[in-house]
């Protein structure tokens, strides 16, 4: 192909793309689900020709752009606050897309292949700086027969604002009164102790290099980097290994009201097999949109996203797919989306 031909092809492509302007959607937000979103939007583009541009600028930016109306949909790891929903006249629906989990990773060579076991109150006290030694009797009680060293615990947390921190602190807020009063939950909080690492890779490197460290990273990251991670005691008293299945179980056992707005935290969820540090990540869409054409495109995409095919892609990238219960709840909500107060006509 000569340069001239390439130029012609590009010009032709541009001409073809121009009238198809309405056939594209833009979105912005969370970075954590970016890999699966990118894959979905690519697969959807190949299947239907509809282009979805997604900028992974972070949940905060996603909510802001959604509020300002500069994007067709937003994406966030933490649900919008009532005040933020007020800013868009409550014209927002949170649609869960996949489930993420956060694992506790550590550097204790003396443990060998034994998996550490932890409960929520102990984790909170470690991250509060109340428990400072690895051989503390509370840790020892949960790990009978494990050789815990008489070493200082070095806490490592995320320094950048992140959905991972949001999920982790949301969990600690539920299991520790003191954590709730002193720190609470958000994408960045005032950490009582510890070192800050930038990104999952920053936390991981500090944990890998420094003996006696404990930190938290996304499940996906821990699985693909073969990091050791702890079993966490869930609300029924079982020590559960974090996995895609146990994260999906957390979403399945979460209790939803019939008219739920899906802004539901599934950390510390009930159920024997649930992993307690799990959370949805959401797309933000307008239940009543001003642009009927784009609303139809978005609705069609959302319907495609909850098909077994699309949800199946999540597993390949190590995101936990939505359980059938949640998909069944989402379906009628997508069908009820409106434009200018009227139902969106079917395709």
């Amino acid at each position: 192909m000569t340069i001239r031909q390439i130029g012609l092809a590009l010009a032709a492509a541009a001409l073809l793309a121009a009238p198809a302007g309405a056939q594209s959607l833009t979105g912005a937000g969370a970075t954590f689900p970016n890999p699966i979103y990118t894959k979905w939007f690519d697969a959807y583009n190949k299947a239907t020709g509809i282009r979805i541009n997604y900028q992974s600028i972070g949940s905060g930016g996603g909510i802001r752009q959604f509020t300002q109306g500069t994007v067709d949909f937003g994406a966030t790891d933490g649900p919008m606050s009532p005040a933020q929903m007020e800013a868009v006249q409550n014209n927002v629906l949170h649609i869960p897309t996949v489930i993420g989990a956060v694992v506790l990773t550590y550097n204790l060579p003396s443990l060998g292949a034994t998996q550490l076991q932890m409960d929520g109150a102990t984790i909170a006290d470690i991250f509060l700086g109340r428990i400072t030694k690895w051989n503390d009797k509370r840790i020892a009680a949960m790990n009978p027969g494990v050789a815990l060293p008489n070493a200082d615990i070095i806490v490592v947390h995320r320094s950048d604002g992140s959905g991972t921190s949001y999920i982790f602190t949301d969990y600690l807020t539920k299991v520790s009164r003191e954590w709730k009063d002193k720190v609470n939950y958000a994408t960045s909080v005032k950490w009582p102790v510890g070192l800050g690492g930038k990104g999952n890779e920053g936390v991981t490197q500090q944990v890998k290099q420094i003996e006696g460290t404990i930190g938290y990273v996304e499940l996906i990251y821990a699985l693909s980097n073969n990091l050791p991670f702890a079993k966490i005691k869930n609300s029924t008293g079982n020590f559960v290994v974090p996995s895609l299945a146990s994260a999906t179980a957390a979403a399945a056992s979460a209790k939803f009201a019939k008219d739920t707005d899906f802004r539901v935290s599934i950390t510390n969820a009930p159920g024997a097999q649930t992993y307690p540090i799990s959370s949805f990540t959401w797309l933000l869409v307008r239940p009543d949109s001003k642009d009927a054409a784009k609303a139809a495109l978005l609705r069609d995409f959302l319907n495609w996203m909850i098909t077994p095919d699309a949800q199946g892609m999540a597993g390949g990238l190590k995101y936990a797919p939505l359980p059938a219960e949640v998909v069944a709840l989402i379906k009628p909500r997508i069908a009820a989306l409106k434009a200018n107060g009227k139902p969106i006509p079917a395709k």
Partner: protein, 319 residues
């Protein structure tokens, strides 16, 4: 370029018109810079208005940083920025000056080119690469060798006490030193090359040793240029973000120990901006940016003043 004597009035007029056009275009480009700067300051100010109203100047002296409760203070960030940059210069200036002097005064001709080329190449490495190198190579090395040595020999000083984590103020200063070295080195080298040879020859002819010629005749001549080079390095160190945040430990705290984690203004902005949801959090980050801008301007102004004074003083003495 001057119009030839045979040129007609028409071409002269054309040249004048072209000149005027050229002048106008240049004026516009020159104006664009201060206008852009004005917009920048205005944006920063507008963005931080909410935080300025909420915290006032107390923002600069408070150490609180609690995004959940919406309480913010930038003192640890200002401290971290100034200390890490100052330490970086403390390490980088003697090293880069040494290299520059060696390359201009003492090194054999054939190695001068390659060595200075290699050092300037360091300036072309993206800062995120420095950061990754810092995490994977430098910190493990420092943790195993240099830091324990410092703790054992200088542990009586408060700067070298406490647990050694690896990431911390000293690690940040060292990576910054490596990053600013090529700038200081290459500008000082140019400045030293610009010192007239007669200056050296005169000193040597008077019976000075090479050391005396260097300290008595060459360095005083190059003094203001060398200070300029150091300021250039300082500017780079103050604003450096990626590499620093990856190795400094990112903790909003002021600690005496250089092994302890710290934080800088640029790093905090980069870390928290994307996920900042509350308006007051965003506004506080803008306020940090404004503070960084002011600190940078103040330091640069002080440096200009210093260069000016040195140039005056130097001129007076050598006369």
């Amino acid at each position: 370029m001057s119009p030839s004597a045979t040129g007609s009035d028409a071409t002269l007029g054309g040249a004048r018109f072209g000149d005027r056009l050229f002048k106008a275009a240049l004026t516009l480009t020159a104006l664009a810079v201060p206008v852009l700067l004005g917009f920048l300051v205005f944006e920063l100010w507008a963005g931080s208005r909410e935080a300025i109203g909420e915290f006032g100047l107390g923002f600069l002296t408070s150490s609180e940083w609690d995004p959940v409760e919406g309480r913010f203070g930038a003192l640890p960030l200002i401290f971290g920025t100034v200390v890490s940059s100052a330490l970086a210069l403390l390490i980088a200036v003697p090293l880069s000056l040494g290299v520059a002097i060696f390359l201009t005064e003492f090194a054999p001709m054939r190695i001068r080119g390659p060595v200075s080329f290699l050092i300037e190449l360091l300036a072309a490495i993206p800062s995120v690469v420095y950061g990754l190198w810092g995490i994977f190579v430098m910190i493990p090395f420092l943790r195993a060798t240099v830091f324990p040595f410092l703790k054992d020999t200088l542990g009586f000083l408060p700067f070298f006490q406490g647990p050694i984590y690896g990431p911390g103020m000293l690690s940040a200063a060292i990576i910054l030193a490596i990053m600013v070295m090529p700038y200081i080195m290459s500008v000082s080298r140019e400045v030293l090359l610009a010192v007239p040879n007669t200056q050296r020859e005169a000193a040597l002819a008077l019976g000075a040793t090479r050391w005396e010629a260097l300290t008595g005749a060459v360095l005083p001549y190059a003094r203001s240029g060398i200070i300029g080079a150091v300021i250039l390095g300082l500017g780079r160190a103050l604003g450096e973000t990626m590499a620093v945040t990856m190795v400094i430990g990112n903790r909003h705290e002021i600690a005496a120990s250089l092994f302890a984690p710290g934080y800088t203004m640029a790093a905090a902005i980069a870390n928290e901006f994307a996920e900042a949801v509350e308006n007051i959090h965003l506004s506080a980050l803008s306020y940090v940016a404004l503070t960084l801008f002011v600190v940078t301007v103040l330091i640069n102004a002080a440096a200009r003043l210093l260069i000016w004074r040195v140039a005056q003083g130097g001129g007076g003495k050598s006369a």
